[in-house]
């Protein structure tokens, strides 16, 4: 116990004195201690479990940690990350301030904001002290340090980049007839009733779609960077709900039922029930093609004016039982090796958070040699990224959505 | 519709199991007569009743005809054969009152409701159970239950009676009474009766032809 306390004091003391890139001798010694402490630990990693590719990738990560560090990784599959947040909240309420049941959470946005607000996270400043932080593209990817307008303060470590991308099957629909902005989409839906839908909020992708529409339809985008309670929410969000009122009668099942999440939309695209689907990962279609889940005629497109983009992270609850193991895991996730495999559509296809310029040459070459797949847009084709609104918007939009559309007739 | 009967003619009925003949009967039971089939259990005697009633287990093979009032009843559904069945258990319907059991059995052409009730009450009086209409069958003694079962089968106006060891569960006193009651009622209504039993006393009391089956060779 004494050893444990001294280690954590040392690590946080070190973090105060550290500059972000250079690792001095003492720091690598501290890291060695973390590695030593982590050996034999079991890390309960709470992560959304609705995608086979991602689950397999996590399985691979676990195997690696077991082989290299003797750490057991257990993937607690969630259908909603909020469940993990609620578990930590409940533990805090019950006074369980150590030996908590969750060691690492796959997180971003409103869940991060809520945990940070309630002091439910370990940190600050552990993320930038991870040895592999040196490769992270802090400079060109602002969403790595600002998550939905909230500074991460080193309380979460980046894992991957997300960008809203749309898909269609070129065997059935022509690429040049695909919508290029939300107004186009509305018109397309009116001409093709029953062939578009979005996952039912509060599903993460479904809510993200609402934010995409909000950003495109709202008069003054800058208002969205403020907390929703600081502005006239009803007035600001009115264009969004006007839009949805027009869209819904032409949705799949006339908006009386919605797809559960984005993998179910892929299934519906394969079956020909939907003609346009979307996901937060540009390689979704390519990897689904590689897995025989979609025909190889599926292609990606995006809105030239821009689509929502963000970063997803891992964070450690304040009462985590295996903090050392969780740190090792977070560090492994931003290793070039792990990031390379993640970007490979054969496994997942999720864009990297690393900067190619910071990588050793041969690693960077491996990244550029990746075959991103026939249906994946190149990074320069992805178009501009919209900033996420302040996390408070998500909750109020979801609430209003539920009261307007949660009961269909 | 006549409820009288011209007798029950069992015309060359053979019942076998897996190709082995269990019994063969060829006999005319006139009204008021009793034919007793006697034999140990497993001899197939109850199977004969099942065949005549129309409930033969598909495992058995049977041939031959049975005539009642000049109709070959093996050709019609059990519902149209007008067989009156009595088993060793009274099998009263526990969720109905005693009277309910009777009106359930009564032909539907007896109406209205009050008439149905008064006939049922009369039938109960006939078997010595005056005032039992509203009683719960479960509160009756074994002998009383047997008499309700008899009243129930008689009120359904059967064309003949099929008795499957109906007395074997009664104690000696009740047994004699019950036998008398059954045979007397059958006579009064001119019904042919087919009784199967393993009990020699029953067979003798029936006072009619006895066919022994099973270990002995079947014969008259």
């Amino acid at each position: 116990m004494i050893k444990k306390i001294s280690l954590w004091t040392a690590l946080s003391a070190a973090s105060l004195s550290l500059t972000s890139h250079a690792f001095a001798d003492t720091d690598s010694k501290i890291w060695d201690m973390v590695v030593k402490e982590a050996e034999g630990q079991t890390v309960y990693w709470n992560a959304w479990g609705g995608s086979t590719q991602i689950n397999d990738y996590i399985e691979w990560v676990g195997q690696n940690l077991k082989d290299t560090y003797g750490i057991e990784v257990v993937h607690v599959k969630l259908d909603d990350t909020a469940n993990a947040v609620s578990a930590v909240v409940a533990e805090k309420a019950a006074g369980k301030d150590e030996d908590g049941s969750i060691d690492l959470i796959w997180i971003n946005g409103e869940n991060f904001a809520s945990m940070k607000n309630q002091d439910l996270l370990y940190g600050p400043d552990w993320a930038q002290n991870l040895p592999n932080w040196q490769y992270v593209d802090v400079e060109n990817k602002p969403t790595i340090t600002t998550d939905f307008t909230i500074p991460t303060d080193g309380m979460e470590s980046p894992w991957g980049m997300a960008k809203l991308v749309f898909f269609h099957d070129s065997a059935r629909t022509k690429a040049d007839e695909m919508p290029d902005n939300s107004d186009d989409l509305l018109k397309w839906a009116e001409e093709n009733p029953g062939r578009f839908s979005y996952p039912q909020p509060p599903d993460f992708i479904g809510s993200s779609f609402l934010k995409q529409i909000l950003i495109e339809q709202v008069e003054d985008v800058s208002l969205l960077q403020q907390p929703a309670e600081d502005v006239d929410f009803e007035a600001v969000s009115k264009p969004l709900f006007d839009y949805l009122d027009k869209l819904h009668p032409n949705l799949w099942r006339e908006a009386k039922a919605f797809p559960r999440d984005y993998p179910s939309m892929s299934q519906l695209l394969a079956d020909g029930e939907l003609e346009i689907t979307f996901a937060f990962n540009p390689a979704t279609a390519s990897s689904a093609i590689a897995n025989d889940e979609l025909p190889d005629t599926v292609r990606s497109f995006t809105f030239s004016g821009g689509t929502l983009g963000n970063t997803h992270f891992v964070a450690i609850p304040y009462n985590a039982n295996a903090k050392a193991g969780a740190l090792i895991l977070a560090n492994f996730l931003i290793s070039p090796e792990a990031q390379l495999r993640k970007q490979d559509p054969a496994f997942w296809g999720d864009p990297t958070v690393l900067a190619m310029s910071k990588l050793p040459e041969e690693k960077a070459a491996e990244f550029s040699a990746l075959d991103l797949g026939v249906a994946t847009l190149r990074p320069d084709e992805l178009g501009p990224a919209f900033d996420e609104p302040h996390p408070s918007w998500m909750a109020v939009i979801e609430e209003k959505w539920a009261s307007r559309y949660g009961v269909a007739n | 519709m006549s409820y009288a009967s011209t007798g029950l003619k069992i015309d060359g009925v053979r019942i076998s199991l897996n190709g082995r003949e269990l019994l063969a009967v060829d006999h005319l039971i006139n009204p008021k007569e009793v034919l007793t089939i006697m034999g140990p259990s497993g001899s197939g005697k109850s199977t004969l009743l099942a065949y005549i009633g129309g409930f033969l287990d598909p495992a058995f093979e049977a041939e031959g005809d049975v005539y009642c009032s000049d109709m070959n009843i093996t050709l019609v559904k059990p519902q149209q054969r007008r067989a009156g069945l009595l088993f060793q258990d009274p099998l009263l319907f526990p969720h109905m009152s005693v009277g309910g059991n009777l009106v359930f059995a009564m032909p539907a052409d007896i109406q209205p409701k009050a008439e149905r009730r008064s006939q049922a009450e009369q039938a109960l009086t006939d078997v010595g159970l005056d005032g039992f209409f509203e009683r719960d069958p479960d509160t009756l003694s074994g002998g009383q239950k047997a008499r309700v079962a008899l009243a129930r089968v008689l009120i359904s106006r059967p064309a003949f009676l099929l008795l499957d060891e109906p007395f074997s569960k009664l104690d000696a006193d009740r047994r004699a009474q019950m036998r008398e009651l059954v045979f007397e009622n059958a006579k009064r209504r001119s019904l042919p009766v087919l009784l199967v039993t393993h009990d020699r006393e029953d067979a003798l009391a029936a006072n009619g032809t006895i066919i022994e089956v099973g270990s002995q060779t079947a014969g008259q």
């Binding site: 086979t52 609620s86 559960r260 | 009106v103």
Partner: protein
């Protein structure tokens, strides 16, 4: 030791349920100090009833519970009355029985894929007959009236009700009664329904109540098949219970109380329906009409029964096919390619949940069988079987909606730091496994010819020796069958595993529902297949082990 066994059973069954209920009711009225609720108030209920569409959710749960149960009972009553004692009956019975062990979630997935607009039926007839090149945009699964959920519940509950009916029939000499009523001139169905069914019904009444409780409060089937705008009440409750906003838990508990009330109300309405149909049946019986022209009804009953079994089987088979399919687009009836890739990828992730499932199932069955045997042995000693009160106790966990006490139990366990422990999880499984194990073991145990015990005793054997050397071997088949039933029940538990395991103990079933929400039919196929195989292996062992152990004893194996 034996004398305490009924007490232990009481503790194991009643304490979690009652404590859980208390743990649900108190927060519902605002009291839960651990989460900052110090004062009693009605606020949680106020908040609950201000939720959008809450009355719709409530009425959905009620109607779905009543209607699905009524249809199931009608189907079973119709089929049994039309065909009991025939060869067709035996055949259908063999067809339907295995479905009892299919977990609800697996059955729901299979059913959903059969009837969806892009499902197997549509594919069978498209495009050559229907002309559909693409699936129609029809709301079939997740429809707003809950018809898909009702149908799913019916096909899953019918096997259960049929089997409890079958167990009841021999006790009331149904065959002879049926002969009797036919001789009285009644049509087969009318005769059976008017004369025999009321006695059968009395014996299957508690199981029917359990079906109402399940149907009105279930979560796993409702997520898959039920309406989504809004969800049924229980599904919404689970969502609120898991919300990061702790205040939602007070509302969730208030909702759980409402759910209990909804289920209680459904039971009450059912009892009224019983009264009405009972009176109607008595008056029909007294009229004396014979209703002999029932051929159409008989055929309909057998067709519906067979179809309901086949659709579940078909769904499961097609899911198994999905698990090995490559690209399989509408309207292709069969996959373009087959591959084991899905299995190869899923296998590493399967092993842990599989082991957890087996440990929880094995342990809860072991505990349940020991308690059941001890209670039965005690019953034999004292000659008292506890009567209706004991039966009601056994049914308690099946009659109270799971949500009603699991929420409270979760909060209680959380406050004593016992959440997500093996012990808590296994014990909560025992709550649901024990009733089934006891019920399936008690009938053969009580029917055991006591003269064997007398012979043993006359030969100088102690009670203990009689138990081990006479009863247990002779009843081994029944004991193992009870174990297999219990194991199947444990495998099927979704909500208890999720709530009490706090997600830390993924089992095949929790994984299936979590992944199933992702709509990936290949993965659903794999998990549903595993969900089916585990109970099947259990039943296989239960039926082959006695035959192996007593291979030279025809009297026991019946071979």
């Amino acid at each position: 030791m034996l004398r305490y066994s009924p007490l232990i059973a009481l503790l194991v069954l009643a304490v979690p349920v009652l404590c859980g209920l208390a743990g649900t009711v108190l927060p519902a009225f605002g009291y839960l100090p651990a989460l900052g609720g110090e004062d009693f108030s009605l606020l949680p209920f106020g908040e609950l009833f201000s939720q959008t569409g809450i009355w719709r959710s409530i009425s959905q749960s009620f109607f779905i519970g009543i209607i699905s149960t009524a249809l199931s009972v009608m189907l079973v009553a119709g089929f049994v009355s039309a065909w009991y004692g025939t060869r067709l009956f035996k055949k259908v019975q063999y067809l339907v029985s295995p479905l009892l062990s299919v977990p609800h979630a697996a059955a729901a997935f299979g059913f959903a894929f059969m009837i969806a607009p892009s499902g197997f039926f549509a594919r069978l007839f498209s495009p050559w007959l229907t002309g559909w090149e693409r699936p129609l945009d029809l709301l079939i699964v997740n429809d707003q009236l809950g018809l898909a959920l009702i149908a799913g519940l019916v096909v899953k509950e019918v096997p259960f009700l049929l089997l409890v009916t079958l167990a009841a029939l021999p006790q009331i000499a149904a065959i002879k009664s049926s002969h009797l009523t036919q001789s009285l001139g009644y049509g087969r169905m009318a005769g059976f329904l008017l004369s025999t069914w009321p006695s059968v019904y009395r014996q299957i009444r508690l199981p029917i109540f359990a079906v109402i409780a399940y149907a009105s409060a279930n979560v796993d089937m409702a997520i898959i098949l039920g309406p989504a705008t809004p969800y049924t009440l229980p599904v919404r409750l689970v969502g609120w219970m898991n919300d990061p906003d702790l205040k939602m838990r007070f509302m969730a508990c208030a909702g759980a109380c409402v759910q209990i009330a909804v289920t209680a109300f459904a039971l009450l309405v059912w009892i009224l329906i019983e009264r009405f149909t009972g009176a109607a049946s008595r008056s029909l019986a007294a009229k004396g009409n014979r209703y002999t022209h029932d051929w159409g009804f008989r055929v309909t009953a057998s067709v519906l029964m067979t179809a309901s079994a086949l659709i579940v089987f078909g769904g499961l088979l097609v899911l198994a096919l999905w698990s090995v399919s490559g690209l399989w687009q509408f309207p292709n009836t069969l996959p373009n390619t087959l591959s084991f890739k899905n299995w190869m990828r899923a296998l590493p992730g399967l092993s842990q949940p599989l082991i957890t499932t087996i440990i929880i199932g094995g342990a809860s069955v072991a505990i349940s069988i020991i308690i059941s045997l001890a209670c039965l042995a005690r019953e034999q000693q004292t000659g008292r079987n506890g009567g209706n009160r004991a039966l009601l106790l056994l049914y308690l966990p099946l009659l109270v909606p799971q949500i009603g006490f699991l929420f409270g139990l979760q909060l209680l366990l959380l406050s004593v730091n016992a959440i997500a422990s093996w012990t808590a999880l296994i014990l909560v499984h025992v709550v649901f496994v024990l009733p089934y194990v006891f019920l399936s073991l008690s009938a053969p145990w009580r029917a055991f010819d006591k003269r064997y015990d007398s012979i043993g005793a006359a030969l100088g054997s102690s009670n203990w020796r009689i138990f081990w050397r006479i009863r247990t071997p002779m009843l081994l088949r029944a004991i193992l069958a009870a174990c297999a039933v219990g194991f199947a029940v444990s495998i099927g538990q979704y909500l208890p595993t999720l709530l009490i395991g706090a997600g830390r103990f993924p089992t095949i079933t929790t994984e299936a529902v979590a992944l199933g929400s992702g709509g990936n039919r290949r993965i659903i196929g794999i998990y549903a297949f595993m969900q089916m195989m585990l109970p099947f292996i259990g039943f296989l062992l239960a039926s082959t082990l006695p035959a192996l152990i007593f291979r030279n004893r025809r009297g026991i194996t019946g071979l």
